[in-house]
Symmetry: C2
DNA sequence: GATCACCGTACCGGTCAGCGGGACGCTGGG
DNA sequence: CCCAGCGTCCCGCTGACCGGTACGGTGATC
């Protein structure tokens, strides 16, 4: 389940429900739309949204409400993502410069991967991912490598839940997926071939925690079928991920 | 004023007060520390922080509280910053690849510049800026160019307020600053020479709104005195900023 | 230009979520 | 041993929050 109900009997619960009603590609939502999405009474949304505006978490435009810059600031202070991002940037940078293909950094959250960074040039392949966005673990290279280097129980959790089909190539058979995960664990790389979007392929390698058997995050390179062969970039991606791993384990940035 | 009091007689106000108690380089704050910073009663902080945890805006660790990954996700959905970032990345990317110096993207908020993106390699100069962080407008190249392309009233507002001295080179005389702003407006570039941090220099150019007389954002290149001469990069920075300007004005991403 | 659907805004009295002073147990340092 | 500082919990008071309802504006449809 994406995220549980969030207590609607409390102001705070209503507030975050409203905030979370915005998806990655909503620019601005009208009051009515917020009412529709949240299921809250109109008067309530009106009031709470107003409070959110005075508290600078929302902006008011003549078209409706929109997540504010203050929220962006706050989000960038989230310790784990922030320090991961700062450590990772130089590596992602290098990787991009050597490949000139789209480079991703992501972490796992439940059954999804959350993208922490995405860098690409003017001619980048049109990927469905966005920084701060989510994708199901089972249909992306990043997701697979993260899952391969997760606790067996969460791995099993995902394998035993229904696997949404995103494209004709999406792997929906748990058995096949499990074999790929084992291979990924063995090789330290995972692949994706048009499983999240038609026309795209991807390689990913894990950023490992101290012990070396759990992934903190993962790095990937994505490109269009045709000019791009995932196998050709295995070494580079792996090198970047390993470099970051060893740098990260020399710092504190983990735990729960 | 950075941000006004935020109504403390409301749950929401207390909640954001607690969230904003975290600065860019706080990893984790104890309950007691939060009490100290917010001035709220201990019992209240304890309860509200608890609520924030159940609503996934804070994480609980054995050392204290910390801004959660959910908050990061939310922040990345802030429309203005997000779309700006997406449009800008390829340009920042190019700029970095041609200079191999630290590249920034920033917007103005009140008397501060807020950094939206920062990219640099392994050998980057050690800058005080961080993505999501703030710096005073008057002591950075980005800040100066943003101010030069702002409404005259806000420009005057800043000029007539006390200018904090950050380094021995920080410009604290309003007259001198004003002359630099005029020059910046004329040339479409601003410079900074060790005014925010000793040993660093910087060039910045504006990302202009449709009309061409107001800046939406600004791009800069920063490097260490010695190997780095700001003048040498004027053309590149300006080109990147102009490219982004024309791209941005072909989209909707402005207003208040 | 009348009707209607849908929007954003405003009102207002009942009630329960939120409040915070204070007490408690734990820990570590002097 | 004591004390300072921490996190947690209790509990009765009260005003912040609630949301049904009503109102004015705006655009499409006939």
């Amino acid at each position: 389940m994406p995220h549980e109900p969030a207590d609607l009997d409390t102001v705070l619960g209503k507030a975050v429900t409203i905030l979370r009603a915005f998806t990655v590609d909503d620019q601005v939502l009208s009051l009515a739309e917020l009412v529709r999405r949240t299921g809250l009474p109109k008067a309530t949304v009106h009031r709470v949204a107003g409070d959110l505006v005075t508290n600078r978490l929302l902006d008011r435009t003549n078209l409706g409400y929109r997540l504010s810059g203050g929220l962006f600031e706050l989000g960038m202070r989230a310790s784990v993502e922030r320090s991961l991002l700062e450590l990772a940037m130089p590596f992602l940078q290098d990787l991009y410069e050597r490949t000139h293909e789209t480079v991703h950094l992501g972490v796992r959250e439940g059954h999804d991967v959350v993208y922490v960074a995405k860098i690409g040039g003017h001619r980048q392949a049109k990927t469905p991912s966005r920084p701060g966005g989510r994708m199901p673990v089972h249909c992306t290279a990043i997701g697979k490598i993260l899952l391969a280097f997760s606790d067996p129980e969460v791995q099993q959790e995902v394998l035993s839940s229904p696997l949404e089909r995103r494209t004709p190539h999406t792997i929906v058979a748990a058995g096949l997926l499990e074999r790929q995960l084992n291979a990924a664990l063995e090789n330290g790389v995972a692949f994706e071939r048009e499983e999240s979007a038609v026309g795209l392929q991807c390689v990913a390698a894990p950023v490992l925690a101290e012990g070396g058997d759990r992934a903190l995050a993962a790095i990937s390179v994505t490109g269009p079928v045709g000019r791009f062969r995932p196998e050709a970039h295995v070494t580079l991606v792996r090198a970047a991920a390993q470099g970051l791993s060893s740098l990260a384990s020399r710092r504190r940035s983990l735990s729960s």
